[in-house]
């Protein structure tokens, strides 16, 4: 297995409304995105959405959440949600970590994706994270050439996102 860096986005002063990777090469087997993020929205944590090939449609997922001493989750009903991230009500310096994989992204089959996130908060409990796992599908057969990640009110400075091809 080889893992090849395509691009890193580092959000600078003033933040960013979205994180977007375009013109993704098609010679890989899978895509991996490593995201260290903090949403600008004034709440404990915030949803992370994905737009595939410029569209937020045709996606859905099941998710599992570890929260305090509870394990919960739901199947479907999350549209293009792909994870949760840290947000602006938490202490300064708290960023979530998310590992995302889009498997067989260049194939002519429907696409599957998964994510795992550690989401530290300071309002639920000091620094104790949430643990989220998403497993989703994009029910289109077109190859993935562009990925755009969104979060309400955008992303704060020091957010970083790197995209890798796994081959």
């Amino acid at each position: 297995m080889a893992m090849t860096l395509l691009e890193t986005i580092e959000v600078g002063s003033g933040g960013a409304t979205a994180l977007e990777f375009t013109d993704i090469p098609q010679e890989g087997l899978h895509l991996c995105i490593l995201l260290s993020a903090r949403s600008s929205m004034a709440q404990d944590d915030n949803g992370l959405g994905v737009e595939i090939n410029g569209s937020s449609a045709n996606s859905n997922a099941a998710r599992l959440l570890g929260y305090n001493t509870t394990v919960t989750g739901n199947v479907g009903g999350v549209a293009n949600g792909i994870s949760q991230i840290a947000a602006d009500n938490s202490n300064a310096g708290l960023f979530s970590s998310t590992v995302m994989v889009f498997s067989s992204y260049a194939s002519n089959r429907q696409k599957r994706y998964s994510s795992e996130s550690a989401i530290p908060t300071s309002t639920i409990a000091t620094y104790r994270p949430l643990t989220y796992i998403y497993n989703g599908v994009w029910n289109q057969t077109a190859a993935i050439t562009a990925l755009k990640f969104t979060s309400g009110d955008g992303f704060m400075e020091h957010t970083t996102a790197s995209i890798y091809i796994i081959s």
């Binding site: 090849t4 860096l5 570890g66 305090n68 310096g93 960023f95 970590s97 530290p120 994270p129 790197s162």
Partner: protein, 164 residues
């Protein structure tokens, strides 16, 4: 320009039973770190993570599906983040874990850690942890009780975030 990455920084295979493995003086030039661990115990036990030899500032949430059912647990401001918790390993079984440390060398953010681990005998689990410090992570200690057995392996990889 595409850049090959995922460099093996250090590999440890225990030649004698030991209660800890430490990666120190970690090269800070990578974007992220991954540890792939495959270990056994001299009895039932857990494996834990401690960063920068700090005995506080570690918090975590676990969720697991084990032979005893589903379970979750939390810890705050302690001296470890678990690499195995509910899915404790019995003697003779080899658990494995993949551990991600994103932006480990950043000095403008606290660190969060992702762990997936488990073994066939007792179950699987996913955990996340926070290390509430803006110091770069330079030392990672994996420690256990009881000892880890001969042949346990721990590989530390660096993942490039900047083009060469």
């Amino acid at each position: 320009m595409a850049t090959p990455t995922y460099d093996l920084l250090e590999s440890v295979t225990l030649e004698t039973a030991a209660s800890s493995v430490t990666f120190s003086s970690i090269d800070g030039s990578y974007g992220d770190l991954v540890i792939v661990a495959d270990w056994g115990f001299d009895g039932e036990g857990d494996l834990d993570i401690r960063l920068n030899s700090d005995t506080s500032n570690h918090s975590f949430v676990t969720m697991a599906n084990t032979t005893s059912g589903r379970a979750s647990a939390t810890g705050e401001n302690g001296n470890y983040i678990p690499a195995s918790y509910h899915a404790s390993a019995d003697s003779g079984t080899y658990p494995s874990a993949i551990i991600n440390f994103l932006d480990y060398s950043a000095t403008d953010k606290n660190k969060s850690v992702l762990v997936r681990s488990g073994n066939l005998a007792s179950g699987i689990e996913a955990m996340s942890g926070t290390y509430a410090s803006t110091s770069a992570v330079t030392t990672i200690m994996l420690f256990s009780s009881p000892n880890m057995i001969i042949g346990s392996t721990f590989n530390l990889y660096g993942i490039a975030k900047e083009s060469a």
